[in-house]
Symmetry: C2
Subunit: 198 residues, 2 copies
C-alpha cells in the first residue's frame, strides 16, 4: 500500500518491536522519513553499536561493554553485598532507588518447570563461586514476588544458608501511596504477616 | 545508570521517537539486546535504506523510490482523477478505503498564516501544471476538515474552478457508527447542511 517498499519494510520491522502497533509504527516511520538523515542514522548506529559492543559481564552477567560491567568494576560499590536479580532489566529500577550500594548477580531467568528452566540453566554455580569469597557478607534475593520468583528465591536460600552468608529477601507489602481498599488479598496478607513494631 | 553507555545512547535515541517514553524505550532497548543480531540489524538497515532510497515522486510529491511513485507509475489507476492531500501520510488511509482509483497530489503542507506557510511554499504550481493536461477531469480536495485544511481547500477551489476541471471536496458529517448524542455541534451542523434526499 505504501508508495515505497522500503517504507513498508521499515514498518514491518518497527511493528515487531514490543508495544509498537501499526499506528505507532506509522508515526515513527514518518518521523524517520521527515527527520534529517544524520538524526535517523544516529538511531540506526545506536542499534548496531549495542549489538556489536554489548555482552555479559564476566562476573555478574549484567550487560557490559568491557570484561566487567561498570558496577562490578566500580570501587565505590560495596562488594560484600550481592543483590541477585533474574534479568539485567531488573537492575535499573533498583539503581534508581539510590537505596542500594552493593553489586549484582544476574541469574539469567527464574526456575520454571513449566518452561523447562531448571537451576542448571541459571548462573547459580557462578553465584556460589562468588560467595566463596569470605569478603561477601550478605546476599539479597531480589527475584520478582511471583510464583517462579519465590520458588527461585527459596531454592537459593536453601542453597546459600549453609555457606554462612546472610541471605535476605525484598519485603513484600502495600505499595507506598497505595490504597488498602484496592490492595489484592495476597499482598495485603503479606503486609500483615510482615508487620513491624513501631 | 546503565551498565553500558551504548545502551544509554540507544535509550536516548529511542526516546526521541514520537510516542516513545522512557518505559517504552527501555522495553524496546531490552528487546534489541535480547534478540539475535540479524533481527536487530534488519531494523537498523531498514532505517538506513529508507533514508538512502526514499525521495519525493517527481509528479505527485508522494514518497517514492523511483522517479515516479508506484501510484503515479501504475496503469491501473485513473489518471483523470487527482486527489489533493496535504502530506504523504494522508495517502495510506485513503488507499485502505479501496474507494479511490485515481492518483494523488501532495501539497507538502497547508496554508497557515500563523506558521508563515503561504501558497508559494506548497506544490500548487505543480498541481496547476498537471491540470493543464486535458485528460484530467476531476480534482478531489482531501485536506483535513480543520481551519487550515478548509482554508487551503477553498483557496485551491477558487484557483482551479476557472480551469474548467471539476473540483470536489471530501464530505464532512457524522462518523459511521458514531452517535448523534456525542457528535460535536460543528460536525452535526455540517451533517445537517449536507443532508441528502433518500
Amino acid at each position: 500500500m505504501y508508495a515505497a517498499s522500503a517504507i513498508q519494510k521499515l514498518l514491518d520491522e518497527l511493528e515487531r518491536l514490543p508495544g509498537i502497533g501499526p499506528k505507532s509504527a506509522q508515526r515513527i516511520a514518518y518521523w524517520i522519513l521527515n527527520t534529517d538523515r544524520t538524526e535517523a542514522i544516529r538511531l540506526a548506529d545506536a542499534i548496531i553499536e549495542v549489538k556489536d559492543t554489548v555482552h555479559f559481564c564476566s562476573r555478574c552477567f549484567n550487560y557490559a561493554q568491557d570484561d566487567l560491567c561498570d558496577i562490578c568494576a566500580s570501587l565505590k560499590r560495596d562488594h560484600s553485598l550481592i543483590c541477585v536479580v533474574s534479568e539485567p532489566r531488573d537492575i535499573p529500577p533498583i539503581e534508581r532507588t539510590g537505596a542500594f550500594e552493593g553489586v549484582y548477580h544476574v541469574l539469567g531467568g527464574v526456575i520454571s518447570p513449566l518452561e523447562g528452566i531448571g537451576p542448571d540453566s541459571l548462573h547459580i554455580t557462578e553465584l556460589l563461586g562468588r560467595i566463596n569469597d569470605p569478603a561477601v557478607k550478605e546476599v539479597i534475593l531480589a527475584t520478582n514476588p511471583n510464583i517462579e520468583g519465590e520458588t527461585t528465591a527459596s531454592y537459593l536460600a536453601r542453597l546459600l544458608k549453609p555457606t554462612g552468608v546472610t541471605v535476605s529477601r525484598l519485603a513484600s507489602g502495600l505499595p507506598v501511596g497505595g490504597d488498602l481498599e484496592f490492595a489484592d488479598e495476597v499482598t495485603l496478607g503479606r503486609a500483615i504477616e510482615s508487620r513491624h513494631e513501631l
